[in-house]
């Protein structure tokens, strides 16, 4: 008897493609519409999970396109502490589609939020990346200069990238009631002050997420017509919800919205959905740590392995690379030492 499922490939059957496979023995990635060449400029943004891609790309000797890199005077520990090299530019985690869209708009002066800086004594905090540097900015002038430098790096990143890999993390976000500016984290958590009269909770719908992404892509393509977008959905559950329901229910809803929105957004030309969410969640708790939230390294490695295999052209497995060291200080110290020794020669005349 004939029926529509007869003769379908194994990947269409759960029992044959997941149920009878080891945790890393199944591969749901099919038909990427484009591949990323070895010399293509890849940029990354998104929630915490997105940080892994930059880490793995860098460890494979195929660096992300970084437009706001740490100065060579900094060692890797100091750079990491000040959030250099985590993403393409120093924008920190971008949890929502609205935050991504507004970042581009702010960097291009299309949107200037009224709540533009948080003051704490002499220190200044950026409401849109409040944890970007420990203790905030030391002066108002430093904040202004750094923000201008950051925006230039954002413009350069999106305008010159071949592809952005963006990980959607949340639908819940806090916004200014005045102009809709969306914060990465609720005011008052890391800096600033929460004011129920000025701040409100948004829980983005599928339509809103799709519209944000479409508008973002359209805007970027004005300056970068070849711009491509790879979407992923973070498998990391919500840490907390501001909705009046259980965090497990809120998390499931949020991920469902993001997954559907990604499906719709991927119908846009040059936009592709990569199933990292499924890779982590389908095997159950295998890739989750004891807290049932953090993703174990094996899971990250599994996702990255398939990303490298299917999306990056001519790539092997991820491998480790060493750190380069700036020799400037050593050289100049030698120079100053020479001057010092010469001063002694002069003294002994």
């Amino acid at each position: 008897m004939n029926h529509p499922y007869r003769g379908l490939p194994d990947e269409r059957y759960w029992s044959r493609s997941i149920g009878n496979c080891s945790d890393d023995g199944w591969d749901p990635v099919t038909n990427p519409p484009f591949q990323v060449e070895a010399d293509a400029r890849i940029i990354t943004a998104g929630s915490c999970f997105a940080q892994h891609l930059a880490r793995y790309l860098n460890s494979n000797g195929r660096t992300c396109f970084v437009t706001e890199s740490s100065h060579p005077l900094m060692d890797s520990q100091l750079a990491k502490e000040f959030n250099y090299g985590i993403f393409t530019a120093r924008y920190g985690n971008i949890y929502t589609s609205r935050q991504l869209l507004q970042l581009w708009q702010r960097a291009n002066f299309q949107f200037v939020p009224k709540d533009s800086v948080w003051t704490c004594g002499e220190h200044r905090f950026d409401p849109f990346r409040p944890s970007i540097q420990p203790g905030g900015f030391a002066s108002a002038l430093e904040f202004e200069l750094d923000q201008a430098q950051h925006f230039a790096a954002v413009r350069r990143a999106f305008s010159q990238a071949y592809v952005l890999v963006f990980t959607l993390g949340l639908t819940e976000c806090w916004a200014s009631k005045e102009d809709g500016a969306v914060y990465p984290i609720a005011p008052g958590v890391l800096a600033g002050e929460y004011d129920p009269n000025r701040h409100e909770l948004l829980n983005l719908s599928v339509d809103e997420v799709v519209t944000d992404i479409a508008e973002f892509v359209r805007n970027v393509r004005i300056s970068n017509p070849a711009f491509k977008l790879i979407l992923t959905v973070s498998p990391v559950p919500l840490a907390a919800t501001a909705e009046a329901r259980h965090v497990g229910v809120a998390s499931c809803y949020s991920k469902a919205v993001l997954r559907i929105a990604a499906e719709y957004a991927a119908k846009l030309p040059g936009v592709y959905y990569f199933p990292s969410y499924e890779l982590i969640t389908a095997p159950g708790q295998t890739y989750f740590a004891a807290d049932r939230r953090s993703i174990r390294e094996e899971g990250v490695r599994r996702v990255m392995s398939l990303f490298f295999r299917h999306v990056l052209r001519d790539e092997g497995e991820p491998r480790e690379v060493g750190e380069e060291r700036d020799v400037f200080l050593d050289r100049v110290r030698d120079v100053v030492d020479v001057i010092c020794e010469e001063s002694l020669l002069d003294e002994h005349k």
Partner: protein, 245 residues
């Protein structure tokens, strides 16, 4: 042992005891010129003067004994070159930063801005070895310890350029860093070291006001080379030392 014992050492009794690095040379020269009794231990002239690092840092035994033997104040000229290491030669990737207590200082619009906290951490890291040396001196000396600030930076780019041995780093850079960056680094270094001195019961003596122009840079007549002031500047410092000693 290399010391700078002035001719009048015997006549005047206890010499002024100084220890540290090359900034001491301006004072040594001034002492020679003025017949001031001074005993100077310049680490640059004594290979192996410093042994170990961090909290385990020690001086070679005769230096430790010399410090222990001092009844009067010990004048420290330790370090003082960090602003030059970071800001004498322009980095291939020019940088600048904002000093939060001196936001009126010019900004290099062609440079990359570093967060102040990073500039501070870099300066502090480079100063660490010198602070450990000062800590060791503090532990050894029985009397007062007085730390002398290095001279302010020069703003004379042409003169500085002539004094830098450019052949030491071919294909790297050929520019003197902006004077303003040097000034900020010098002020930052002074802030770090003076605060550290307060915490460790060491008297910090800033550079003499009369040696600086209206913008805080070293006046030309006190210039010696790319990193140091001359004997005339040393005389000004000697006067400060006498008033503190």
């Amino acid at each position: 042992m290399h010391t700078f014992d002035a001719a009048s050492f015997e006549a005047t009794g206890e010499p002024i005891f100084c220890i540290g690095h090359s900034h001491l040379s301006a004072v040594s020269q001034a002492a020679l010129a003025t017949g001031t009794a001074i005993k100077g231990i310049n680490f640059w002239d004594i290979p192996g003067a410093v042994e170990g690092d961090g909290a385990q840092l020690r001086f070679t035994s005769w230096i430790e004994e010399a410090i222990l033997a001092q009844n009067g104040p010990v004048f420290s000229f330790v370090g003082g070159s960090v602003h030059n290491v970071m800001g004498l030669v322009a980095h291939p990737r020019p940088f600048d930063f904002v000093l939060p207590w001196a936001t009126d200082l010019p900004i290099d619009k062609n440079a990359e801005y570093l967060p102040y906290q990073i500039a501070r951490r870099l300066t502090k890291n480079l100063s660490a070895q010198y602070l450990f040396q000062m800590m060791r001196i503090r532990k050894l000396c029985r009397g007062e310890m007085i730390h002398i600030s290095p001279p302010p930076p020069s703003a004379n780019q042409i003169r500085l350029s002539k004094d830098i041995p450019w052949n030491m780093y071919p294909e790297m850079t050929d520019q003197v860093a902006s004077a303003c960056l040097r000034m900020k680094l010098w002020l930052l270094q002074a802030n770090i070291v003076s605060n550290w001195c307060i915490e460790n019961s060491i008297t910090y003596v800033p550079s003499p006001d009369v040696a600086a122009d209206g913008n805080g840079y070293l006046i030309e007549e006190y210039y010696r080379d790319g990193a140091h002031a001359n004997a005339a500047y040393g005389e000004l410092v000697l006067r400060q030392m006498r008033s503190h000693g």
